[in-house]
């Protein structure tokens, strides 16, 4: 019988596990922190960058991408939720409302993304008759402009003409004639618009003068003159003009001073108020003094004749 022998398993000589110098060096190289970093971050970055830049190198593709982005943007902006169809202006008179509409010739409907609310508010607030403005987009597609108008309190007559000022002296509008606003007091002179508050206090104090009051004049950008009818004037000091005016008015009420033939009441030096009379009054006064003088001589002569 044939002997059945298992084929002897050829035990393979175990290969030397030693790495070659090259593989050893490569492994050490790969374990170097800088190289590892470069492989983990640098190469992916470079690859992505290369692919993206290769794709974008073609101008048509760039344009296509830009068009797509613009289309998407427009389609979002033009949704009805974002459209503004009219402008509502509250708190402004018809003239001012027309002005505002003239400043912003917006053709509605427009997307709210295209409206620059900040600039609009600054521009509206920059208009002369506007004190403050709130601009917002109200739900329902309404551009809401809330305006607080400046209220004119005085008329300022200067070389340029008549101007309406508010209580802070800010210019509001021009005026063609004084008769348009007879209710407002009048101030004159250079620099009068910078002292409107003081002027208003003077007008308040001058209430007892009634309609004799014509206006007040700023003299030398320093002090006020109160101008009355019959060309009368009250010259007020630079300091505390209101109390000086009150003194004059008190005097006038007690002694009817202002209704006499007085041209100027000079209160510039408080300790020495001075009156200037009209030339006719002076002349009359001299006549009277002359007459009085003759009378006295005669009387002296009579007494001496006795």
């Amino acid at each position: 019988m044939r002997q059945i022998m298992r084929p002897k398993q050829v035990r393979r000589q175990r290969s030397d596990p030693a790495p070659s110098r090259l593989s050893y060096r490569i492994q050490r190289w790969m374990l170097t922190p800088g190289i590892r970093m470069a492989l983990r971050v640098g190469i992916p970055f470079v690859l992505v960058f290369a692919v993206v830049s290769a794709y974008l190198a073609d101008a048509d593709r760039r344009a296509a991408i830009q068009t797509t982005i613009a289309d998407i943007r427009t389609s979002i902006e033009e949704r009805p939720e974002f459209m503004v169809s009219l402008m509502a202006i509250d708190g402004a008179g018809p003239a001012l409302a027309d002005d505002i509409r003239a400043v912003f010739p917006i053709d509605f409907p427009i997307s709210s993304f295209d409206l620059d609310i900040e600039t609009m508010r600054d521009t509206i607030a920059g208009l002369d008759p506007v004190k403050s403005a709130i601009v917002r987009i109200r739900p329902g597609g309404v551009l809401q402009v809330d305006v607080v108008e400046r209220q004119p309190v005085v008329i300022w007559r200067s070389r340029k003409g008549l101007a309406l000022l508010d209580e802070t002296g800010t210019f509001i509008n021009t005026l063609t004639s004084r008769t348009e606003r007879p209710d407002l007091p009048l101030i004159l002179g250079k620099g009068a618009n910078q002292n409107v508050a003081e002027a208003l206090a003077l007008f308040q104090a001058a209430k007892p003068l009634g309609d004799r009051m014509r206006g007040i004049v700023r003299i030398g950008e320093r002090r006020w003159d109160v101008a009355l009818d019959r060309d009368q004037a009250i010259m007020l000091p630079a300091q505390q003009p209101v109390s000086a005016l009150q003194r004059v008015i008190a005097l006038s009420e007690a002694q009817d001073m202002l209704s006499r033939d007085v041209a100027v009441v000079d209160m510039r030096i408080g300790a020495r108020p001075t009156l200037r009379m009209t030339p006719e009054a002076v002349k009359d006064w001299w006549q009277i003094r002359e007459i009085n003088g003759r009378e006295r001589e005669r009387r002296i002569a009579e007494t001496s004749g006795h």
């Binding site: 030693a18 790495p19 050893y24 050490r28």
Partner: protein, 444 residues
Amino acid sequence: MTDLYQSQRAMRQMRQQALQRGVIAILDVGSSKIACLVLRFDGTSKLSDDNSIGALAGQSGFRVVGAATTRSRGVQFGEITAMQETERAIRTALQAAQKMAELRVDHVIACFSGANPRSYGLDAEVELEGNVVTENEVARVLAACDVPEYGAGREVLHAQPVNFALDNRTGLNDPRGQLGQSLTVDMHMLTVDGDAIQNLVHCIKRCDLELAGIANSAYVAGISALVEDEQELGAACVDMGGGSTSVSIFLKKHMIYADCVRMGGDHVTQDISMGLGVPMANAERIKTFYGGVHATGMDDREMIEIGGDTGDYEHDRRRVSRAELIGIMRPRVEEILEEVRARLDAAGFSHLPSQQIVLTGGGSQTPGLDGLATRILGQQVRLGRPLRVHGLPQSATGPGFASAVGLALFAAHPQDEWWDFEIPVDRYAGRSIKRAVKWFRDNW
């Protein structure tokens, strides 16, 4: 001597660099295996809260992050005999350890056992210039040691001051700052064949690594296998390796003697191979599985298949009893231990206060070895395993890794050596003028 200073200092500097970088490799070049550990240093070790040393004996400053072993090639008796082969083996171990650590290692500390280590005891005495021992005085007394003629072609591997004496007080570890008249130092110097070092340096250079230190494996095995009190009271560490068995004696935590028996486990394997007529690989396997040194009646009945690769059925199916195997192994192990005994006697080990002997190394795993060693070396014999260190894999905790672990401890806490002290000024002689000129040139 200046040469020695320079090369050793260069290595010390390299070690400083490696510690700063925080990564260093440990390479144990043995005759049967090459072990590589990669250490990562995480700053200085901290003591535990109650200032005790802690479970890891204060060795928590580093962590083993990579470990690899490979079969050694081209190393016999602990010396490199085939450079290319050894270089490949070192590369294998390093590559595997680096891969495990995922770190690139540039500095390596190596140890080897062979190259005929020889111990010298040096001493010197100087009169102190002042009353206080300063660092300069220590350097002066170290420099005053007269170096014996250790022969051409040999190099100093370790030179450690082991004891200082001030006047009549001896046993000082650190005499600095103390008062006295004359300072005496005892130093232990270990020389090995220079060629062996050169070969190792060359192999490591070929692997693109920087050598940051060399140690004798008898010394580092003692560091890791002896416990603290044994090192203090005096003990011998017998590292039974593959190609050589190295002996080191420790006293007062310093190595005072080291020697090497050029026989080891490989010779036992060779005996088995010759006695049974089997290949070396088979003999190694039989030795590790069935080896022993103490036969009992049971061993007569336990039959071992010794195998073979000839193709002859009868030859390949031979069986021997375990007693026969032990009969082959025992005389060689006895011979090795006798040699160790002779070396210890020559070193005067019997005069030490403690006669503790610690067997470690791969060969110490032979069953029954402690009994045999007790008969030959004396009563106080134990088997030693290396100290536990952070992160050491389970596979590397056996006694075969005593020198690798010891080298890791050595890297973390190097002992002061001769060359760590400044060379005293008068030794510079001609160079001092040059240094002064150079200083002026650099600074003005």
